[in-house]
Symmetry: C2
Subunit: 194 residues, 2 copies
Amino acid sequence: MKNQALILLDTVERLGNLLRVGLRQSGIAQGLQPIHLQALLYLSEANRYSNTPQALAEYLGLTKGTVSQSLLLLARRRLIARHADEKDGRVVRLTLTDKGKEVLKELGLTNAWRDALQAASPARLSSATKVLKEALATLQARNGHRSFGVCLTCRHNLHIGPRSYVCGLTKEKLSSREVGKICREHSPVEENAV
Amino acid sequence: MKNQALILLDTVERLGNLLRVGLRQSGIAQGLQPIHLQALLYLSEANRYSNTPQALAEYLGLTKGTVSQSLLLLARRRLIARHADEKDGRVVRLTLTDKGKEVLKELGLTNAWRDALQAASPARLSSATKVLKEALATLQARNGHRSFGVCLTCRHNLHIGPRSYVCGLTKEKLSSREVGKICREHSPVEENAV
DNA sequence: CTCGAAACGTATCGAGTCGAAACCTTAAAG
DNA sequence: CTTTAAGGTTTCGACTCGATACGTTTCGAG
């Protein structure tokens, strides 16, 4: 009999594969590969500290050279824009163009998933999410990967008042919209209690 | 605030991506791509109805032409063997060579996952698995994909005695070892009751 | 029995991914 | 001011991947 953890692994691998195939299928109309859609999705969620080629490479687990190639294509298609950073001449800031946002919206990548889970109760979804997040955090830590969570779950984030936040790392104020975005410097809060 | 289902989707996508990156990392020493390891893993689990290029293509969600290329490489490296089917001259049977089995064993692909989940209780793992399997089945059905489950969970499988099984589709006897393998013709049993 | 359609597999082509390595520019450190 | 490091780009070769065309074998209809 197979270990319970391995059955879950099989299921997650299968789902991951299916999602990737779905991504490929979705991108065909636009002539985009899965990695391109993943990059667009990331940039639509990345905060101002994390919208760079290097951060994207870390997020995707690829080398910077590889990512540079894919970004070249996205820029050629006018789906993203590149701007030099004002303070640091080495870094490039990546933003979605209106066309890029439009493409993401039209694809509606989450519809099928939402439908597939509409029968499940929120409590069970929440429980499953918790298990997987633990596994994810452990695997990321073990392999030296960053967690790329949102500021709201980051221990650097300081909630100094109603709708008023400050990042303890950069000492900068963050809007209530921005604390829901993904950050490269994210470090999860310790959760010793269950 | 984000939908609970979407948070789970994010987590699964992230995990799927991480597993893929891990697969890539694992294969580097052997000069193998993720898809090669996936093919080897599939063949190590496929039953006698499912060890063909066509079945593998359906399992991976790729075209047969693409899979044919990857199989060429695996055969060149002597990780798989191809044999013509005795009854049907069109089909090719794929089997892992001893070297292929050895490579899989040495990689130990499941160790990290097992460690990451050792703290979780079997009950919670089981609950999470159930949610994800429902989502997987729904997505597969919706996209016209096969489920590729094991005979033990297939409605064609007949348990006619202690350690004695027959596939209702092919009318052939199956060993108790074989009913734990993956089948292309798998069709899940109906589960109306929870 | 023969002809045609369907199924399984292979070969070829072009666009793109991907890591490795070399390289450039800017920033930081001494 | 020199060295070192960091962010990005470029180039190279092996490989993926879909599309398409092709060859073989099987099966069914007349």
